[in-house]
Amino acid sequence: MSYFLRRLGFLVLSLWAAATINFILPRLMPGNPAILMIGRFKGQISPAALHALELQFGITHAPLWQQYLIYLNQLVHGQWGLSLTYYPVPVSKVIAQSLPWTVGLVGTATVLSVGLGVTLGVFTAWRRGGRWDTILPTLATFTAALPYFWLALLLLYGLGYEWHWFPLAHAYSTNLTPSFSLTFIFNVIRHALLPAITIVVSSIGGWLLGMRNNMIQTLGEDYVLFGEARGLSERRLMIHYAARNAILPSLTGFAMALGLVVGGALLTEVVFSYPGLGYQLLQAVQNEDYPLMQGLFLMIAFAVLVANFLVELVYAKLDPRTRGGVSS
């Protein structure tokens, strides 16, 4: 119970800290959203607009602590306000509209990347010294070091533009209306493939190498040898004895990655004009869109924390040592 309370305490504390940082950060930046709005138009709107915009955006010159209290109060009441970038569209709407795409694309890609990376890591470690074990980790090292926006552009240009294998942009063809028809779903998948490949290719290496390292460490453990001595099948040994233990140290990393999914994959989304949250986040930051930033940051913090929490549950499932009692 006290453990649970402590976790809850940490959760609340983290959210508060994220909210506070998120309050402070944009206000550290010089200027205000109204000024930046003028910048967006390179001065094409009249300077008289500044005052009007400030009025619209409710930019007060009240003392910071007062603004902070108001801000916290609104947060607690679940009011995320109106986005300034998209004024007067509510933040919740901006997020709600982009979130499914981001979660769909980045989430799937992350899960794929983790799944494939882990599997390949297990496989190469198990066949240590074999042909695949020399090829795959080296390749993984290379792909992990690729600047992924660069890769994205190359893929977009080569596979999309030159060879027409993939669409150039968007989450689905602009002549379709979203529906649950098979055509639409396939269309969505087709559009997601290239960005997903980019994400997977550039992140799979890390998982592969991490898992391979852990596996090799685990394969040196006595219980694996003891299992082998008992005549267990290779499959059972590889999965239930080696991999199951080797995966434990990576779980926190998975949690982080899964949590950060809701932050979107900024550059990938931009390159492929994918309607996800990544670009919204960039815009929010660049436009000092306090409410949108606040919404996004809090959502990310929340997602990471929840993912961490879930992983802790999974951890307990995978590692009996964490289920109460004193670990040895």
Binding site: M29, I45, S46, L55, S83, P88, V89, K93, Y157, Q283
Partner: protein
């Protein structure tokens, strides 16, 4: 009049190709057709809501829209607009003078909507039959541009119901313009021709506005000949775009507002005309054009006038050296030497009182073409013995610095309007927000007043001539290059686009309300 007679004879069985538009780079679209929102979807202003008139900024035309004509009286303190009869809202109800009056009164009621400061100039707006009467506090003829051309008319019935019009997303807009918003998704939204449009149903039936956040994917779409109309910045446009389909692919990068190097005149060194002249002579403007701006933004001229659109305003008596700049480091050096500046040990000129000519040039970080321009200028200035370092600041810092005079040199924009007055007013009127440099001079102030208070074109022209000379001679801000309006279009499906030879309206899809003028001029290829 520019009304189009609707022709249905060409209607064929095959549905018309939808005109594909990329209205600039955006994050996913948000459903917002509020004419008072700075982030309303492209097309809201122009296609749906219209002002009384459209003033062409790249030509000389004035298009009557909801208004039919206007007239000054009462010593230029009263402006009377006659409305076009039989204008209907898209829901079928007639557009009444009361709607027009309401559209102005709402700005008074909600100052946050009054982005042009209409009510700082007006005392009242009233309807008299088919006419709307605007009472000015003081004569200000050029301000009519904001009243006639920049204030959009909304139906009173709908907008009077909102407790705060600024926070409405207005997803089902009812306007008087040539198009109706019919379908929205975050990736694409659609306009369809308004059959009730007072000018007749436009010939282009369907417009699709596509969302692209990535420059690369947008350009690839353009290069794949999938886009009919856009305003993307495309380097090497002939190769990247035109050559992909030379028959149909075209572009026209019209010149926009002049970009200046603003000297802070509160700085004792920069308040010295010789220093400004030397700086101006030392800058290699063609290099800025070619290296910094991919050859798209031509060098500006000493008067600061935007050419060619404003070429008719040029004083024919203007001396030759005031019609174009010559790049001459030698001249720059000579000017400084003549003015008593001496080089110090580092080769930097110093004022007679010993302060070296050493300046920072402020520029917003991330405006990379400007960043490059500034670094080129810094190199140019170093060549002639003026030390300049570029300071890239976040836009907020930059903007507050230039508006509060906390800078030495800064590159920035200027404002543009239907006549050069708007530029000069913003640049030269004392205490004007656009007068970053802090210029104040009785001659220019008098000339501005002369223009403002007269509706006589000849008088106005004389005022402009005075201002041109003053600017060219005094360099209150140093003109650099012209901004450009990116605009690419395809003629495979639609013809009648504005072009350099026929600049009938500002051509880019983000130019409002010009885009409505363009779209109503297009005809589908049969």
């Amino acid at each position: 009049g520019c009304g189009q007679s609707g022709t249905t004879t060409a209607a064929s069985n095959a549905p018309q190709h939808a005109l594909q538009v990329i209205p600039g780079l955006n994050g996913a679209f948000q459903d917002n057709f509020n004419p008072y929102s700075g982030s309303a979807l492209s097309g809201t202003l122009g296609l749906i809501y219209q002002p009384l008139f459209y003033f062409n900024l790249v030509g000389t035309q004035v298009y009557p829209l909801i208004g039919k004509s206007y007239q000054w009286s009462n010593n230029n303190q009263t402006l009377t607009v006659t409305l076009r009869p039989n204008v209907k809202w898209s829901n079928g109800t007639p557009l009444t003078p009361a709607d027009v009056v309401f559209s102005f009164d709402i700005l008074k009621k909600f100052p946050a909507l009054d982005t042009n400061g209409i009510w700082t100039h007006l005392t009242s707006v009233t309807a008299e039959g088919n006419q709307i009467v605007f009472q000015f506090k003081q004569p200000d003829v050029p301000f009519a541009y904001f009243i006639l051309g920049q204030t959009y008319i909304v139906p009173e019935k709908i907008w009077s119901q909102f407790s705060n019009p600024a926070t409405v997303t207005n997803q089902k807009p009812v306007g008087s313009g040539p198009y109706l918003a019919t379908n929205f998704t975050p990736e694409v939204y659609t306009y369809e021709a308004n059959p009730l449009y007072w000018g007749g149903e436009p010939k282009v039936h369907t417009l699709k506005y596509l969302d692209y956040s990535g420059n690369e994917s947008a350009t690839l779409a353009l290069a794949s000949n999938k886009i009919d109309w856009t305003d993307l910045f495309v380097p090497n446009i002939n190769k990247v775009f035109v050559s992909k389909d030379p028959q149909y692919n075209h572009y026209w990068f019209s010149t926009g507002g002049t970009l200046f190097l603003y000297p802070n005149l509160a700085n004792p060194l920069l308040s010295n005309l010789a220093v400004r002249e030397a700086i101006s002579a030392a800058i290699n403007r063609p290099q800025l054009t070619n290296v910094g701006e991919y050859g798209y933004e031509p060098p500006a001229t000493p008067t600061g006038l935007v050419l060619p659109p404003e070429k008719t305003w040029i004083d024919p008596q203007l001396p030759a050296q005031d019609t174009h700049f010559t790049f001459s480091p030698a001249k720059a050096v000579k000017i400084l030497e003549n003015a008593g500046y001496k080089r110090n040990a580092q080769g930097i000129f110093t004022a007679p009182n010993g302060t070296p000519l050493s300046f920072t040039i402020q520029v917003p970080a991330g405006w990379t073409d400007w960043d490059t321009d500034c670094s080129l200028m810094a190199q140019d200035l170093k060549q002639v013995g003026i030390n300049a370092t570029v300071e890239q600041l976040s836009f907020g810092a930059y903007y507050s610095d230039i508006t509060t005079g906390h800078y030495q040199l800064a590159m920035s924009w200027s404002n543009m309007g239907p006549t050069p007055y708007y530029l000069y007013k913003s640049l030269l009127a004392p205490k004007n927000p656009g007068n970053f440099e802090g210029w104040s001079n009785p001659v220019t102030t008098a000339a501005l007043t002369q223009y403002r208070t007269s509706s006589n074109p000849a008088v106005q022209r004389q005022a402009i001539y005075t201002l041109e000379k003053a600017v060219a001679a005094n360099l209150p801000a140093i003109p650099l290059i012209y901004g450009a309006t990116w605009y690419e279009y395809r003629t495979q499906y639609f013809t009648g686009w504005p072009s350099a030879s026929n600049p009938y309206a500002q051509p880019a899809p983000y130019n409002y309300p010009a885009e409505a003028i363009v779209l109503t001029h297009l005809t589908p290829r049969s």
